[in-house]
């Protein structure tokens, strides 16, 4: 049974999610990875105006492949989230409610997700072509000079995800592993 969610996300919408649950997400996501995060967090630190809204929004850690003619975007699977850990707290303080990527988060980020009532969701790494099929629009909205690392606004429909860290402190990586370790 999938949870169906639409961005922007609210506390009420996130409350029923539990680690390990499948989610189909629709709405707008912001695609950003290392270099864009560094710039965004620097802008926050300096109190400069930000190029994208953050309150209630979802950030997808992605650097897509170039679009095939007729497609809005090329294959677009998740990149490893842990590299964005050092940038995550300032984004949570700005009200970001969800992060999409793959791989473990630091204990600090996991704790901060609970504190700020935000979720970390996994997209399946290696399923990039299928994921791109659920992205209907894509446009670069900030830092175009970063090429594959520019910030993109993505409009998705039924984007398939799995809850890794819920707002109650659950962690699907730890729980899943405990269940099958021999």
């Amino acid at each position: 049974m999938h949870h169906r969610l639409t961005t922007p996300l609210t506390d009420e919408a996130l409350a029923p999610l539990r680690a390990g649950d499948p989610v189909l997400l629709s709405g707008v996501l912001y695609g950003a990875r290392d270099a864009a995060h560094a710039r965004l967090v620097e802008a926050i630190r300096r109190g400069e105006p930000l190029p994208i809204p953050l309150a209630g929004q979802v950030i997808y850690y992605v650097g897509p492949a170039p679009a095939k003619p007729g497609w809005p975007i090329g294959p677009a699977g998740p990149t490893t989230s842990g590299r964005m850990d050092p940038y995550t707290l300032p984004l949570l303080e700005q009200g970001v409610k969800g992060f999409i990527g793959k791989g473990s988060r630091s204990p600090e980020v996991r704790q901060a997700l609970v504190t700020h009532r935000a979720v970390y969701l996994a997209a399946v790494g290696g399923a990039a072509a299928l994921l791109a099929r659920q992205i209907r629009e894509s446009r670069v909205v900030a830092y175009p000079e970063l090429g594959p690392e520019a910030i993109r606004q993505l409009t998705v429909v039924d984007f398939p995800l799995i809850v890794v860290n819920d707002i109650h402190g659950g962690d699907a990586y730890q729980e899943g592993r405990r269940r099958y370790a021999r």
């Binding site: 791989g103 299928l130 791109a132 592993r177």
Partner: protein, 278 residues
């Protein structure tokens, strides 16, 4: 003496890389189908199914299976009877990579600190080896860095023995957890020198799945390590399950009396590799 035009090689390498980006090897798809039967977790099974669907969809649409088409790593076994004509081989290989990545993501930066994108995914990493004969065998690996980032190397001592190897391999896969996009392929290098053992681990990833090391003691080590890795419970995408790795491949070489070098190079669940012989 046989002459081979570098222009021809360039065209063939371009074609090889373009194809490797959207068509995963059949031996891998077979291994994935076998894994589907072995996976105990329902969520893990659904992830493996998604990977199978993605492989089929990418091939049908001729789009890359994964956005991270990595760095191009080329292994050339050059017959010493071959004479290259029509230009320099190095720049021809670089041109092949530039052309192949025209429609792929550019994932290479010029300098590790300045971090300016080279804009065309060059340079490739090229390994040459002189071999007998008049042919050129080219193997290509488009190595994504999810698995690369979690790879490790240790200069163990002879006293560490098999148990030390086992512990290091398990620790590496465990630390990688979900980051390397499991089910992974585990390339293990044993022996040689500091640089040589890393190269052995990478070459272990070139071997088709389903083939054991021809040396019985290493084939046995591969089987033992695979069993131990899968007992970790990490599972597909790290969400728990019985298939953490599709295979463990060990490659070994002679080493120094003081050393037991071991390297572990991880490949994600989308091995982009291909080969041809000219």
């Amino acid at each position: 003496m046989r002459t081979l035009s570098v222009t021809h090689i360039q065209e063939q390498v371009t074609r090889l890389l373009v194809q490797a980006a959207y068509q995963l090897p059949q031996d891998y798809l077979d291994a994935l189908a076998r894994a589907q039967d072995r996976e105990a977790s329902p969520l893990g099974q659904s992830i493996i199914q998604l990977l199978q669907e993605n492989a089929a969809f990418a091939q049908q649409e001729r789009v890359p299976t994964c956005q991270d088409t990595g760095m191009a790593i080329l292994y050339l076994d050059v017959g010493q009877e071959v004479h290259f004509t029509g230009g320099e081989l190095g720049p021809a290989l670089e041109a092949a990579v530039r052309e192949a990545y025209a429609d792929l993501r550019k994932s290479v930066v010029k300098d590790p600190l300045e971090r300016e994108n080279t804009g065309d995914n060059t340079p490739p990493i090229v390994h040459f080896r002189l071999v007998p004969g008049d042919r050129v065998r080219i193997r290509a690996l488009m190595k994504g860095f999810g698995g690369e980032m979690m790879s490790r190397l240790a200069m163990l001592t002879p006293a560490h023995g098999r148990e030390g190897i086992r512990r290091f391999v398990l620790e590496t896969v465990e630390r990688a957890g979900p980051n390397a996009c499991p089910p992974v392929i585990v390339g293990v290098g044993l022996g040689s020198s500091f640089d040589g053992v890393a190269s052995l681990a990478k070459q272990a990833l070139l071997r088709p799945l389903g083939q054991a090391n021809p040396a019985p003691h290493l084939a046995q080590l591969e089987a033992e390590l695979l069993e131990a890795v899968n007992a970790l419970g990490i599972g597909p995408q790290g969400l728990g399950g019985t298939v953490t790795a599709l295979a463990v491949h060990v490659e070994s070489a002679p080493t120094h009396i003081a050393a037991l070098p071991v390297a572990v190079n991880l490949n994600c669940s989308a091995p982009r590799r291909a080969e041809l012989t000219l």
